[in-house]
Symmetry: C2
Subunit: 301 residues, 2 copies
């Protein structure tokens, strides 16, 4: 029962704030920390948190679940600051969009057995507690990334936490997760920025964009700080994804250059089919989403 836990949420932005709201509404005791006192006040005022964790983080001592909900490049240092006070914590988790770097820090700090990384796919372009809302995670996919050293109680608590807020939980590993999001999220954002720079460099302004051009450059307006942070924690996989995309782009250029019109049509046919295909695994939760997924055994049965 999630109501029996004391959950400490470090970072009360869109994700941390929304999680605090839902857990508090369920009757769970939620303690909140944010380096910005304004966010803490806002969360306390709407009863998203019932207690405040100060800058010394000592109040973490009473938490059975600790959630890092800060940018991915800040989370490792915050985990280090928190580590002296994690004696009562049975689950230490995070919500960042990359999972290897934070997992490695957990290992280094000796808390890997209680650490299970999480990545809720519920981000949007807004930020701060003002953007948080009840029900943000209902039906959202949440990847959980235990390591081989994660203990069953930590995994059970991670599942309980995200089930309590209605998430569609998928088990995977940090390696596989980071490799996948490099393709499904990081590459698309970088591509949008590269496209915007390409069009701008060619001397065309944004008013010249057709509908397609507008759609494809929209993500280029994403937060520079957030993308700097994400890229800095997932280099190798992103480089692989960029190389794979560059190779596909070269192939498209060759098709066009040699006037192979049929293959251009086939590119759109195949891409359209892929877009419309139902996922092979439609089970809502507790299943490894892909053949290669590891880390699922022992969790669901």
């Amino acid at each position: 029962m999630i109501e029996q836990e004391t959950v400490a949420i470090l970072g009360l932005g869109l994700i941390g704030g929304s999680l605090a709201r839902d857990l508090s509404m369920r009757g769970t005791r939620v303690l909140g920390y944010d380096r910005d006192a304004e966010q803490v006040r806002a969360a306390f005022n709407v009863r998203a948190i019932s207690g405040v964790i100060g800058e010394d983080l000592e109040a973490l001592r009473s938490a059975s679940i600790v959630v890092l909900a800060v940018p991915v490049d800040v989370a490792p240092a915050l985990l280090e600051r928190a580590s002296p006070f994690l004696g009562a914590a049975e689950l230490i988790t995070d919500v960042g969009s990359t999972k290897l770097v934070i997992g490695e820090r957990a290992s280094k700090l000796g808390v890997r057995d209680r650490f299970v990384g999480a990545h809720p796919m519920a981000g949007d372009s807004r930020a701060g507690f003002a953007a948080s809302r009840p029900g943000l995670f209902t039906g959202s996919r949440v990847y959980l990334c235990p390591s081989s050293r994660s203990e069953p109680p930590a995994k059970t608590k991670a599942l309980k936490l995200w089930h309590a807020v209605g998430a569609d939980v998928r088990w995977t590993t940090a390696e596989e997760h980071d490799g996948e999001v490099a393709f499904t999220s990081h590459l698309p954002h970088l591509l949008s920025a590269a496209l915007a720079r390409t069009i701008a460099t060619a001397g065309h302004d944004v008013a010249a964009l057709g509908t397609g051009g507008r759609v494809m450059t929209r993500l280029a307006g994403s937060s520079p700080a957030m993308w700097q942070a994400i890229v800095s924690t997932n280099h190798a996989a992103i480089v692989r994804a960029l190389a794979a995309c560059a190779s596909q782009l070269d192939q498209v250029r060759e098709l066009v250059a040699r006037k192979d019109h049929t293959s251009v049509a086939r590119l759109f046919e195949e891409s359209g089919e892929w877009l419309r295909a139902a996922p092979a695994d439609a089970a809502p939760e507790n299943k490894a989403p892909r053949k290669k997924a590891r880390g699922a055994s022992g969790i669901t049965g």
Copy 2:
């Protein structure tokens, strides 16, 4: 006065059908042709057209304005079929998203002096007369591409035609137009398809896409036939745009590979600034939109 013209519209799909609706509503006599009799019936039933042009195209003889509103790879042959009956036409135009190929055919057929190509930026993913609607062009940008040989009366009528339906007219040349849309429209569509293929080839299904991945692959589901046609009429410019984008992508990959996080942030900062920038030329019509634009002299004063 557009009401004094007889406008023949060849192709009663989204663009041709919408143009027919608006002109008929203004009291203009509109004759319609479509190889699909069902589209003709639908247009006639809602009084978008008041007369029907048969397969022999002979009824074109009475038209003072002839508009080709068929796919770009079909338009040249249709213009050739129509050419024996264009004696009364003072303006021959089209609505395709590439302008060089159709302009060359007009030259070859000896009607270049009366031909002014048009490209209304009003397409969407739907097609056919059923998708047409009144007011589609209100405020939409329409590029007009006369050649050095286009006569003033043809240019005047082209301006009158698109002003009558509320368009934001911009004068340019076919060369410049095709070069620009290669970057602002064709490249984004091909990039979306290349991205979809990249993600699919890496073994990830569409359910794994985050918000960003979904946005960036949406255009990959565009009509294969339409994109085959567009690409087939704008090879050289598209190859240049793909090469420019590949080069930007390589630069991004280098930044990430050498862990130059600051430059990744700067990429998003600059792209965001470009996205938010107001266009240098905010005048609504009759002006050359960019410094390099030609063909504007003698049109507006």
